[in-house]
Structures are given as C-alpha cells and as structure tokens.
C-alpha cells in the first residue's frame, strides 16, 4: 500500500473601486499546495441529524485500503469534510469545530489534544456528509 496525492487550498478576492479617473484594486489572496506521501487515509460517508448526530472513531471505521485491509488511524493530520445541506463537525476534546454547507469542503490540519473522535451533526434536520481523515507516517 502506498499513498500519494495533493492538498490544495486557495482563495482570491479582488476589491475594485472607481472614482473619476482613479481606479483602485485591492487583492487579498492565499494559496496552499502540499504533496502528500505515505500515511493512511479513511473515508466515511453517511447521513446525520440535528439531535444526536453521529460519532466517528477514526481507529474503527471499517474503511479498507487498496490492499483490502481495514485502516485504523491513531492520529489525524489532515481533515476534510463536506455536507449538504450543512453539517458541523466537532473534533475531540480540543474542540476544533468546522462547518460545511451546500457541498463546500471545509478543511483543517489538526484537532489539538484529546481523543480524535469526531461528532458530526446536521445544522437542521438531516444532512449527508463525507469525511476524509489522513494520518502521516
């Protein structure tokens, strides 16, 4: 089993203003690219609700790698989550809280101290979600 891939996060916002013969442009941007090699990855998909939600233990999701073996994460180094119509993901006792709505992907690199479980709840009613967690070697 060998994992390789990329992580990309970028944003750019152009603020433009014109007054008479003067044009002003203010550009705010960030870009992050990373090559990922090795480690382990899990993917969890499902449906959650706005009451109890679902709790996912990254050490026991049943996800299998390309070799067909179950993957168990003891730590998490990259996290991506999306949900529709919207979900909140709360990680461990470090209390990192990510929100994702309308299929947009929220991301973080770490969840702080404590266990690595994640509780996913819907913002309203029920929502579908997809969670990707990667642990480096």
């Amino acid at each position: 089993m060998a994992i390789s891939g990329t992580v990309h996060i970028s944003g750019q916002f152009l603020d433009s203003y014109e007054s008479g013969v003067v044009s002003a442009l203010k550009r705010s941007h960030l870009e992050f690219d990373e090559s990922v090699t090795g480690g382990n990855v899990i993917v969890v998909k499902g449906i959650t609700d706005d009451s109890g939600g679902v709790t996912i233990d990254p050490s026991d999701t049943g996800f299998r790698n390309a070799e067909g073996e179950e993957v168990s994460l003891t730590d998490v180094d990259r996290i991506f989550i999306t949900g529709t119509p919207g979900v909140t993901a709360r990680f461990g006792t470090g209390a990192v809280i990510l929100n994702a709505v309308n299929g947009r992907v929220a991301a973080t690199c770490c969840v702080g101290a404590g266990d690595k479980n994640v509780k996913i709840t819907s913002l309203s009613g029920t929502s579908t979600y997809t969670l990707i967690m990667w642990q480096a070697d």
Binding site: H8, G11, L14, N102, W134
Partner: protein, 152 residues
Amino acid sequence: MSVEGFLRVSIDLNDTHTEDSIDSLKKVALSSSNAYTNGIIAVASGTCGTTAETIDISNFRGADGELVDFGPISGLDDSLRICFLATPAASLRFLDTSITRGTFLHSVNDKPSVSFLARYPEGTPQFFVGTQQQPEEPSYTASYTLVIMKEA
C-alpha cells in the same frame, strides 16, 4: 467598491497496492470551488501568545479607502467564509454562547484551516486568537493571518 473572487479546497489521494500480478488503485478525492461576485472582505494579521486576544477587523479598509463594515451577525450566518493560518501554531475562536457551536480552528506551520459559515450571538463579529489548547507547548508567540469574507 465591488468584491469578486473564489475559494477552492481539494484533496486528491491515490492509494496503490501491488501484489503478485494484481495492481490495485483506490482513489480518494474531494473538492469544492466557489466563485463569489459580491461581498466584503477583511484581512487581519499579527502575533499572539497564550492569552487569548481579540482580532480587530474593523480597521481594514476596502479599495475605496473606507473602513469595511461587517455589521451585526446573528445566529447562524452561512454567508461567512473563514480562512485561518498560523505558525508555529495557534487557534481561532468564533463561538456561540455555547462552546458546542461555532467555529474553532487550529493552524500549524501555516497550513490553512477553512470553515464555511459561523454561528454567533447577535452583535459585531469578534474573533479570538491565541496559542492555548495547542498540542505543542503553548509558551511561545505565534504569527497568524485571518481572511474573512461575507457574501452579499
């Protein structure tokens, strides 16, 4: 003054395995790309330590030279896009009165954290940044950058 732009987040991983004469590939990919044609944006950067401090976004000026006014935010606001970077490590809090709701992001070594929407009690948005609750020893000074965009 008009703001337009985009925000992209993606991960694309290939898990390969070769055994005997069989090659296996398991591909994991997730991405979103959204364009924005109208809204307001503010950027704040600075340093922080173990004591949580408020990030003041009220002094950011638009292309027209005027202060950017985010106005009050109440309850669940799904028009906010929040990007946070810090090095060596820091956390950003933007919380509802209940800590179980809101936005709480960590960043390490300038790896960005991105969240969409925020919950907040009524009022002007306030962000708190600090190095507390980090996996590393928190007795250091961190630098941070916050980009917050609100769709019109």
